[in-house]
Symmetry: C2
Subunit: 457 residues, 2 copies
Amino acid sequence: MNPTRSIVDENKDRFLEELISFLKIPSISADSAYKEEVVRAADWLMAQFNSLKMDKVEKFPTKGHPIVYAEKIVDPSLPTILTYGHYDVQPPDPLDLWHSPPFEPVIKDEKIYARGACDDKGQLYMHLKAIEILQRQGELPCNVKFLIEGEEEIGSDNLEHFVQEHKELLKADIILVSDTSMIANDVPSITVGLRGMSYMEVEVTGPNRDLHSGVYGGSIDNPINILCEMIASLKDENGAITIPGFYDKVEELSKTQREFLAERPFDREAYMNDLEVDDLRGESGYSPLERASIRPTLDVNGIWGGYIGEGAKTVLPSKASAKISMRLVPNQVSSEITDLFTEHFLKLAPSTVKVKVRPHHGGEPAVVSTESLGYQAAAKAMEDSFGKTPIPTREGGSIPIVALFQKELGLDTVLMGFGLDSDAIHSPNEHYGVFNYLKGIETIPYFHRHFAELNKG
Amino acid sequence: MNPTRSIVDENKDRFLEELISFLKIPSISADSAYKEEVVRAADWLMAQFNSLKMDKVEKFPTKGHPIVYAEKIVDPSLPTILTYGHYDVQPPDPLDLWHSPPFEPVIKDEKIYARGACDDKGQLYMHLKAIEILQRQGELPCNVKFLIEGEEEIGSDNLEHFVQEHKELLKADIILVSDTSMIANDVPSITVGLRGMSYMEVEVTGPNRDLHSGVYGGSIDNPINILCEMIASLKDENGAITIPGFYDKVEELSKTQREFLAERPFDREAYMNDLEVDDLRGESGYSPLERASIRPTLDVNGIWGGYIGEGAKTVLPSKASAKISMRLVPNQVSSEITDLFTEHFLKLAPSTVKVKVRPHHGGEPAVVSTESLGYQAAAKAMEDSFGKTPIPTREGGSIPIVALFQKELGLDTVLMGFGLDSDAIHSPNEHYGVFNYLKGIETIPYFHRHFAELNKG
């Protein structure tokens, strides 16, 4: 067994215990009631960096939650790896669907169950343990910098400003992020494409108050019915989005590119069985994987209006609302899509209602080249630890900071993640495999070594 | 001034105080937390009947809330008026929209503000005060029976059984109900038509758990989007309902009948201004009033799914649900419409989701003849108290007991109500005009007298 793997195995229990301490802190960025817990998580992280004997460990306040920064410069002539992660987590609701409390981590069937186990604490903490291992083995092969924020789940609103104000501090040669998934535990992959996002909130108002649906039904347009009609019209019978201009900048992949991506293993039956759906539908002319990665989409994330309690209430409500988000692909621009949606949705409204549209945070799509040194270092690292060449994949999710780092720091991001789609991130019973956690800790030191090597050449 | 009016004026303050005591009791039938308050309201009512020296005052238990019964038989050869009402009220939510607490009645601008002020406590209690007045003036001209239930707002589920089991007790010559509205305070009207109802609850399930909308969006059909599409398809571009067979039994009114109903005053501008809507739309070929009275309708009363809290959450939810009700007109049959809806809605579901449909309580539509003795007595009574002939109107709301009484007791119901559409029943800030309350107390004794007279002839 290789030395890196040995160290991992010898320290496995402690590595897990430390992660569990991290997971116990309910650092829910979206909920102002947990503001102090978020800070507590930042402090915990800083203590871990301190025990790794970083040169610099700082907590930068922002208008929101603090940013944790750490660095160790071994030798200015060495390449510098900037690792990004986030210590905040998604809200855990609905609580009643969790089998164990979201902030009381348990290890069951070789998986760590907790909110944040995979997204992002488990994946983030692997990097700190990787540094510990590299230090045990000698000098760090690269300089290391860590930029860990507390607002990723709520849009990283203060990150852009921080990055703009600290370009010198953040100077590096590559950005490394573990916040994505692999195809399978025996099919390693590296994410080379991410979708962007445009997130809208809409409100349809009809009458100025809730009405009796007998007295007014039929005469007064019902805002819920109208909202449903407006939302339904956003896609056509082929599953394509009908917003004018929406697809104008979408990069169509070539036949060759699509064939290459299609080589990624996909077990349609297992996919459907895992979710207990009887069929898959979507945009005509594209496979399920393509629909979830190289095509833009529109989903209603939440809808509400009228009486939603127990029993029956015959109300014709004053308002109906929805949260609607679109995943974007290169070269769609988030702010442009937001404007196109807003213009179109307002036009859809019949004369009987008033519509408000407001945007939440967005993010740009991103693609990274497999020719880059960062990608090559990651590919070699995974070959070392998995014994197989990883497959480059385009993912459906969004990591807005990738476009931000490209724009502000001129740097590519390597998305070398160790999660699985089945980890149920953003859902109840989120978990992270012990295998995956330890495999990441084993792989990351190889990345540091290979990146140093490739930069010499 | 006529003697009846004098008595009303002399006792006005006490009449209002007594009603206010009644209104203070939060007899919310839909909410099991208020079960004891509902009983307290029944008891209060019984005490009032007792002070009116009824022959019989009883509280009948049911599987749900109790039924209050009272009677005074003056002379078996006299006609008997059975008055129906309900002492339960709608839930008051949303509480934050009330200007004064729903169960702390206030009189402002000559209106009594409280949940139940109009529907139905104010309108019901007028009848008890009318009995008091008749008693002061001599013998009651008719025998009187009172059937007051506590479950009207939740579907009167136990009323049918009670009526079937007590046909002898409930024997009468007419049923009198005040639970509808007039056109205006200076335009008295009597309701001769009511819509029926079919109330459905639907649930669309896609994946077996909430999903990350980046990882799965585009590949997995979103239950909220699907629900919106299914609901949107229930009406066509002309505002007609697309459920096959839905209109088969709808009685089309003749040109003459429609012209007659159209003579009812309708101020379109005032109607729209009151509700602050800029336009009115609905089923093509019908006026706003017709759409709200002689045509069947479909309204979504509530819709929910996904994340509906503060901020943004990128979830592709497992489920989406809605409460959908249809108002019916003669001769549609509630259970048939329920079946047609269910069959159609289940068929609408694409193969990617599973749909559940379950019915809530329904009710049949009803029409009463203006030739009947009951109608004539009511018309004459209103002529006496208003100085004008009332207009017969078809209302949009449902009062399922009207069809029940016809079926089980063979009796017509006279819907002589004194509310106004602007009373905001089922909404926040429900109120009942002092004018209307007192006018009803004045009119009802005339009804009793005229009904006795007409039955002699």
